[in-house]
Symmetry: C2
Subunit: 191 residues, 2 copies
């Protein structure tokens, strides 16, 4: 049985999520993994209210993560300077149950410079820290995203892969995803 | 020993995080909980690079969550239509280890309307779904944030409390936080 890789990311919001899921799964199998996509859960939403449907999907995704052996998170910034929060949640979930976490972003800039660019206006505190117009500090640890995200990848012995992309390919480019798979294959071969 | 409530949120980015931590801890003890703030970890960052310091802090926060009995997440939208990703990560972590999760937001609008407002321009798919200019769907489940966030609160038997706030008090108002504590006290009294 191949190790199961849960494919977290905003890919579920693409116009054709099944197409990207299929592409990712083909790449996974090429590197010795079984790709598990959030929409793989066999759930019946008939008759549920939108709120109930949302909750049912969240439960199904949690169960899929529990069934996985690693998580590959797509953390290209999504509607702001950070990763999609659903993806961040799933990284935290995976980290707590001890899965190695691999992450990729189709944007190379670090979190600090992305946040400064997103905000437009920033200020310096007397301490030297940068803050936004609401007085909220901007993390400056040289990391790819918030320190909980980057720390989880680091401490779980995964990796972060980045590349640059055009706006059109921002959420579909799979070069950095494949770099994660390549590293994961080596890691799993050793363990 | 009082149940320990981990206080997740972007409060750590405030100009005086210790002040808000103290206020939250006083409220926690009034409701029968011990408040645990991310900055409570006794860690020494001397001599560490920024990246190492970030990772060290993330490890300390993970350990604090593992020591807690519940998590109260501050999910007021942060630099975009969603909660802070560090907070989302911590909610996922807490959910995986079975903690009840309470969440509060100082903005009442639901996720869909906030996202539409943030984006400015949106389109309708033939299916009726709303999407952004990149073609990425906008969740429309009538929830407070991404379905993983809302689902975790719901399934862990916590609650979501919301209130409205002025921009100045957006990240410091504690009325909805106190509503979470009030519900948590009842829940813990029953269990």
């Amino acid at each position: 049985m191949l190790p199961r890789a849960y494919l977290a990311g905003p890919d579920v919001f693409l116009p054709d999520p099944i197409s990207i899921a299929d592409k990712k799964k083909v790449l996974c199998s090429r590197y010795g993994f079984e790709g598990v996509f959030p929409l793989d859960a066999d759930i019946d939403l008939t008759g549920l209210s939108p709120r109930e449907a949302g909750t049912r999907i969240s439960q199904a995704n949690e169960a899929l993560i529990r069934s996985a052996h690693l998580l590959i998170a797509h953390i290209t910034p999504f509607r702001g300077p950070s990763a999609d929060v659903g993806t961040a949640f799933e990284m935290g979930f995976a980290r707590a149950i001890g899965l190695p976490i691999y992450a990729y972003s189709n944007e190379r800039d670090d979190f600090t410079s992305r946040t400064v660019q997103f905000l437009g206006t920033t200020r310096r505190r007397p301490s030297g820290e940068i803050e936004d117009e609401d007085g909220m500090a901007i993390e400056s640890f040289g990391l790819i995203d918030n320190l909980m995200i980057a720390g989880a990848v680091e401490c779980s012995k995964g990796c972060v892969a980045t590349t640059s992309s055009s706006r059109r390919e921002r959420f579909t480019l799979l070069e950095a995803f494949e770099n994660c798979l390549s590293t994961a294959r080596q890691d799993f071969a050793r363990s």
